[in-house]
Amino acid sequence: MSTTTPTSLDTVERAVQTPEQEQPWAELGLKADEYQRIREILGRRPTGAELAMYSVMWSEHCSYKSSKVHLRTFGNHLTEEMKQHLMVGIGENAGVVDIGNGWAVTFKVESHNHPSYIEPYQGAATGVGGIIRDIMAMGARPIAVMDSLRFGAIDHPDTARVVPGVVSGVGGYGNCIGLPNIGGEVVFDPSYQGNPLVNALCVGALKHEDLHLANARGVGNLVVLFGARTGGDGIGGVSVLASETFDDEGPTKRPAVQVGDPFAEKILIECCLELFHAGLVEGIQDLGGAGLSCATSELASAGDGGMLVHLDRVPLRDPSLRAEEILMSESQERMMAVVTPANIDAFLAVTAKWDVETAVLGEVTDGEHLVVQWHGETVVDVPPRTVAHDGPVYQRPFARPESQDALQADVPTAQRLARPDGADALRATLLRMVASPNLCSRAWVTDQYDRYVMGGTALATPDDAGVVRVDEETGLGVALSLDGNGRYTKLDPRTGAQLSLAEAYRNVAAAGAKPLAVTDCLNFGSPEDSGVMWQFAEAVQGLAVACEQLGVPVTGGNVSLYNQTGDRGLDSAVLPTPVIGVLGVLDDVTRRTPSGWRESGQNIYLLGT
């Protein structure tokens, strides 16, 4: 059911004939030189659908254009020792680490900051849903989640809106999908007032032979979309194209927020695992930000050929969607698989068993074109690499802010921070501290999270690390800790980032596990501020060096920039907040070490300096 008339469709043919047509590249967030580069790549103006694809894939969020040059540092500090357990490193949906006995784990932390400010419940819920799909896309069964949260001042009225929404969103999705929540953080600081941070981590387990990668190989193999129907979620930006390209009717209303359906995702997990175990999947990719644009271009780019996709075969929730909107939609709970023609019937039988809607959209083709058709007309014909991997790379200027010296010199003096003298004062200070928002019990949060589901949780709140069992026969399992400290990082980004890593590493080691790998979510302000960029560069350098010293590789993560509102420059930005997840392995999780006193009469030792 199409509402567009063929004449209004911006096809490749039409783009060739109308080279001078004005296009809303600026509204879509592209810079003049970026638009020019697209024209050079294609040798013509892009169609509306192509412009939509490039603009979203070349956005900061998808292309890492400001952070890429710095993230390379991690690779430069990768030693042989660090690669020892690494099966898949940075660059795939999530890193994969060998934990022995034929088992591997995959884990990653990702942000959903801005959406959680707009609609706290759904923003946080869909953040959890997104990271779980990343883990599924590696061929793993998700086994636990964690969440690291930053909110504004605890007594600010808007905090009372954001906190309960975010917490029930994290819980609502995780509880309903059946993943134990095994830890996280809650921190309050006024710098996060308009920019709360919601970072969610998921860990999954798989047997070595079940590892799947996101690539489309084998000419003639089928490209299959399965899961929820596609609606107009998260495509607000592309509506400018509608008004440009279509004159038959104005753009219909598009939702500003995505609503998560954890039930649909639970079904998708079970369905995917059955598909994997039956050997019916050649390549797989989750649909997250940038939806089909991202999934098709990344699958094709990582594969050995091209891809042909018939967009009109996408099952729609909203039949009024236009081609470029379908390409951009960020509807949740969808996956894309590459399947051989011989396996397609078996594939469809499994998805039917789970009541998961499935559509064969197209196939892997010879050559190097990603071609997208809409009712037989070609609306996209691009080299997929140029969309997915060869986006712009910026060398943003960075400089140590002048205010940094004053900040560091501003140490609390005895007058400003009086030391308690005597037992009573000490007692009062202690009570004040344990009652303060950043140190008090987190039970209000953690009581809303299921930590028992799946029956493998050996440690969770209130311990410093979460521990879950992977292999029920041997007790083999993993420990995870997720930590950050924006205040330390603001004072000294390099050391602050290292301290966060050290804390997570210690927590995992103290639980009795051998730390193996690192994931990180780097939450900073605007990269267009040289001070923010300096914080970022320093933090990454610090992390890379510390990882090398500890012998644990960064296997993946996420960068979230532009966490700032207002025009006070660096002062409008959130505290620079690298959140670091460390994963360790235990041969037998029943031998994990809980924290806290267990029995009276035990001795207390203080280790370290």
């Binding site: 029930s168 819980g171 609502g172 509880n175 309903c176 999908i177 059946g178 359906d261 954890p262 039930f263 649909a264 639970k266 079904i267 789970w354 009541d355 953690t446 009581d447 809303q448 999270y449 299921d450 930590r451 028992y452 589901v453 799946m454 029956g455 493998g456 949780t457 050996a458 069992r469 029920e472 999780v589 029943t590 994990r592």
Partner: protein, 225 residues
Amino acid sequence: MRVGVVTFPGSLDDGDARRAVRLAGAEPVALWHADADLHGVDAVVLPGGFSYGDYLRCGAIARFAPVMIEVVAGAERGMPVLGICNGFQVLCESHLLPGALVRNDHQKFVCKDQRLRVENASTAWTSQFAAGDEIVVPLKNGEGGFVADTETLDRLEGEGRVVFRYLDGNPNGSLRDIAGITNERGNVVGLMPHPEHAVEELFGPGLDGLGLFTSVLSAGLEALR
């Protein structure tokens, strides 16, 4: 003894229930919601989770699954049936148990280690306990408030059909602190807390949950004799 554990779309604790059955010494049998066949099992567990997302009312859609026709028929013949959390909700929706479960009075999901008193130790699922025993098992739900009209509540109390009661404060607004109930015959039991999460040392608050699963085992052995 073979104990079936039903998987509905959205069941979450089905694997845990099967593990509990196994640790109790019985053979767990996975049953599928769309398959109207109990495959000859001697007892059935309806596990926790969010069947069909719990979207309409908890358990409302699962109640109509093909397998439930067989479960209801089995229950009426006297087969032991245990509904845990979402399973309890399904049993109420199916009218195998009276009353209903509504949103927690504090409106939040709650996950905690919960102390309970075993009030009735003569059901198919509690014979290994003694009346008055206190046990600790995890509680985790968003809609765990047990409600029924006063007459029903009085009847439940009068007939000794309250099987488990919350101790140390009511976690969800359940009327009369009711955590679990049984039918007249004592073969069908539903409870909100999760005994299957207290069957292995270190993976839960203790081993207090195992008793429900060993109880049905001995009920089965009795029947064989």
